[in-house]
């Protein structure tokens, strides 16, 4: 089986997997990084979002063979101690309910703020509406992104 060298959360790791194995399952089942969640498996819901070279990508439909030389950020790598501005804003705005989709929400928001440090509501909706939340935390996510954009 081929071995792929991939940078995950700043560390180079070797993944021995079939070429088509989605990154999601490599993270969860091979590397034990269970912060990235499975929900739809078809790139529809955004729950499994990770950042690849800073861009939000659905890890459930991204084969490991496409990632050599790329840098991946998962929720575990966002900050060592829950101090990323978005994590702090998420706590301040009391966003989480069940919490299952929130890693994907937070990473999608991180990519948005990287590109657009002061997004409007419409820009937030546009960037975030592909990440589904059945608990209905959208209003608080919007507020939390504004809060993080304003420096907490």
């Amino acid at each position: 089986m081929p071995v792929y060298q991939i940078t995950i959360n700043g560390q180079v790791v070797e993944i021995e997997a079939e070429a088509e194995m989605p990154l999601l399952w490599a993270l969860r089942d091979l590397l034990g990084l269970t912060g990235t969640k499975y929900s739809c498996g078809m790139g529809i819901c955004g729950t499994c979002t990770v950042l690849i070279d800073g861009l939000p990508v659905r890890s459930c439909i991204t084969p490991v063979s496409s990632l050599t030389g790329k840098s991946i950020l998962t929720i575990e790598g966002l900050s060592p101690d829950v101090t990323h501005p978005l994590q702090k804003a998420w706590l301040e705005e009391q966003v989480t309910q069940c919490g299952y989709c929130q890693p994907g929400q937070i990473l999608t928001a991180a990519a948005l703020l990287e590109k657009n440090p002061a997004p409007t509501d419409a820009e937030i909706d546009s960037a975030m509406s592909g990440v589904l939340c059945r608990c209905g935390t959208y209003q608080r996510i919007r507020k939390a992104i504004h809060r993080a954009a304003q420096g907490g």
């Binding site: 969860r28 269970t34 929720i75 009391q94 989480t96 919490g99 935390t137 959208y138």
Partner: protein
Amino acid sequence: MSSPKLNRRDFLKLVSVTGGGLVLALYLDACDKLPPELPLLSAKDPASEPGAVTPNIYVKVDKNGLLTVTAFRSEMGQGIRTALAMLVAEELDIAWENVRIEQTPADSRFGNQHTGGSQSVTKYYTALRNAGAAARQMLIQAAARRWKVKAEECRTEPGFVIHPQGMEKLAYGDLVEEAAKLNPPLTVKTKDKDFKILGTELGHWDAPQIVSGKAIFGLDVRVPGMLFAVIARCPVFDGRFSSVDDSASKAIPGVKQVIKLDDRVAVLAENSWAAIRGRDALKITWDEGSKANLDSQQITSEAAGRLVKASEPANLLEAVYEMPYEAHATMEPMNCTVHFHDDVCEVWSPTQTPQSVQKAVAQVSGLSQDKVIVYTTLIGGGFGRRLQVDYAVEAAQVAKAANVPVQVLWTRADDMQHDFYHPLSVQYAYTSLDKPALPIINIEHGQGIPIGDWRSVGEFPAAYSKECFTDELAYRLGRDPLDLRRELYRDNPRALGVINLAAEKSGWGSALPARQGRGMAYHATFGVTHVCQVAEVAVDARGNVGVKRVVCAVDCGRVVNPGNIKAQMEGGIVFGLTAALKAEATLKNGRIQQSNFHDYPILRMDEMPLVEVYILESDEKATGIGEMGVPPIAPAVANAVFAATGIRVRRIPIRPADLKV
């Protein structure tokens, strides 16, 4: 607040001082007369069985001054772990950052752990406050003895007992050893003012773990040596396989075992992806059984045919409403992890009913219940789906047959097509125009597929037809729907309270542009929590309904965590909007036609209305909030759509085709 006199049987009993902590077992039944179970849930309640023992709860204060509250209900985002701990922490008088929460496994000593019906806070409100107050009194007594002063003259500040002269203080952690040797108090006095924790907006205790990706949901459980399993189930309910060719499946790298159960086939592999591919590669001939012709259109017509219509009184206003099957579509699909070893069975399950899981796994594995240990993980959405035990039963069967620890993963399609659905129903509502009143409603449910509890259960159709009909009645009588509701609920001050508040905050009656409208709905879910919602919608020329704003007034009695009440109302509204405007589960040839979020679309962020939640101050008993935001939103939106367009749509989800110009 009163000082309840506890009798001998019910006193706060010191059970253990292990680990240097003060541990209280609180026998709950004297502290809080429990209301009877709601009929919808009682049949499945483990504690409704004869022989159920007295419930109790453990509160621990340790040498480090930390409070550990044992959570005995399931956390699925409704905030119950946080709420239970807040009740204890308030009375103990301790800083929130010094509170820890541990989830207990299924255990009959904790009473009924069935987390459904939005009842946990109502049932345990007084008991948990008494538990905290008792621990505080024992710590005070220990300090008073050391200082040789009267306990009544001491007070506390968070984490400390303060000397009567105020010059000295002792940390709780320094007092637990002495306190643990004391007899627990026979009476406790809880606070009646100066609340520091209750009534404050606290985020969920689990939130830091969630936002850092460390929270453990069911699918995150890892047991050494475990395999991942995905199961092929007959696409038609109650069908079974007749033949299985697993050669292609076994050829997939990572696939380890194929296990045939009675009606389904499991593929076990080294990782989830191999298990999914292995399952998909099975060649199965299904014996589809007797339900292969089920069709939801036909099920709807049959239900409509069974509806009993009224022949009197004279001068009837009548209407028939309809709603389809709905899936739960929890973001975390069903799953369960099971490990048989050393004559026991360990189960890690995102379940709302760990004791039912325990019982079901014991039955299917031939073990006694005390040999089945069920750990409740955090739950990635429950909404009633996880009050079932099917996911645990099959996982236990697979793990037992495989003789290795197994995590059974349901794919999204598995989850959507093998749900216990919110029932399809048709509802006939009527009243006499001569003597207008709230309607009488006859309801008929679709038959043929598994149905189950779905956030707010029968209250959802009940509120839908009642509140849509009330709106129709108002227009028919030439009355404002708000005024009519004020009249219909004139003897119900709590109903009037939320109706008037929602009307005021929404600007009810003020003008809106063309093709925009407001609609109101009021409902007291399970008869306990009063909610009125006013939805403001805009309908475009193609018939798309945009919900711009929802004003929600809620009276749930005494408030534990206002932030969480607001969050649950927001969440209930979003959940209901998906059913009102977007998603339905349909059947053709016995199969659920939807398989994922593309054809079962749930509300997205760009469709999220501005939601404003207003909480009425109340001294009434604290009542539930988890489900109560759901029922009013569908009728509020339907009524708003009528106000905007003049079109009365009597079926949800409301679709653009219903409203095209």
